[in-house]
Symmetry: C2
Subunit: 198 residues, 2 copies
Amino acid sequence: MAVSERGPRERMVFSAAQLIRRDGVTATGLRDVAAHAGAPRGSLGHYFPGGKEQLVNEAVAWAGRYAAKRVDRFLAEMSEPSPSRLFAAMVRQWTDEFETVGFTSGCPVVAATVDWADSTESTRAAAADAFAGWSRPVARALTGMGVPAERAEPLATLMISALEGAILIARAERDVRALTTVARELAPLLDGAVIRRT
Amino acid sequence: MAVSERGPRERMVFSAAQLIRRDGVTATGLRDVAAHAGAPRGSLGHYFPGGKEQLVNEAVAWAGRYAAKRVDRFLAEMSEPSPSRLFAAMVRQWTDEFETVGFTSGCPVVAATVDWADSTESTRAAAADAFAGWSRPVARALTGMGVPAERAEPLATLMISALEGAILIARAERDVRALTTVARELAPLLDGAVIRRT
DNA sequence: GCTCTACTATGACGGCTGTCATAATCGACG
DNA sequence: CGTCGATTATGACAGCCGTCATAGTAGAGC
């Protein structure tokens, strides 16, 4: 095992995340996922014996890990890190996508929460894990920049909340205005939380 | 006409909004809406000749008007208005619902955006209108409290973004933590935008 | 070469969807 | 009383859904 070079299973999870974040969980059919992944429909039952529920949960988990990795990458690429610059990078990822690809897709974790949080417990838990796994590196980054430990987690929650909300508004308005606005307005508050720093 | 005492038509729009904010747009069937409203299924085609699309759009518009009215009511009930207190009231509406009714339902406008923003143009536009109609009274309230005109609208966008995002996280976590956090963390920034005031 | 496992392929199944056509029913108005 | 419009009732329709059963095809290990 181990070195499977991007197998059909992984492709299906990835495709599921892409379709879910565009059309929602309910509107995304398993046949669509297989077709989008270029994978045989008959493999779905094999790789995901738990059915659609398992596939959706894995897609949500994948999205959470992806978001967390992006935070680490933003941090590594930053020459002079600051909370506002980290938030700006997180926001810019979305303004870039909206302006180049279009406003067709949002966040898969949000879609899963909206569509299945009340009906499918395991998916609700997967979404909660995704948010937690995304928030953790953000909070860690903030403490690394000099934000007191007790404020890092609340500020990370605020950042993710504002970002997710702005993504929704931007999608509805087909305008990145909400995203650039929250980045600008939140900047002084975020940088003001830094205590020590040369 | 005019004095129709909460007719079946209005009840169906209301029921649609309730079901949509719990299960999402796609998972909400027209038969469910009629049953929830205690209305005859055969009436759907009569009152909404535009089909499900029309019903969903009216439900979204209704939700937008409702949110706007709530802002005005919060303002009227406030003895010493301040931006942070207005935001706290908006957040408290949701913490109250989550703690009493449970975490079953979110915001219908968000559900419509997630499920149909990319596939149904009219619904996307209805969601944008709902956000705009909700943002307007918030911005107006801020200027009334002494926030400079050019900052009122951006701050209103930030408030609604953070609120919507926190609602999503709270639903996923089944915990109001995210909501109380954004209310607390955003308070000094909001009140700091007030210029003149006795 | 055989075997056994992993994967693929295909179609059927019941159930649900939104939409529409047709009728029956009601209620007011002339 | 009769009529006509608005509302309700019911069922049919094609289409999609997730799931499952069955069968076919590789491909590695011995």
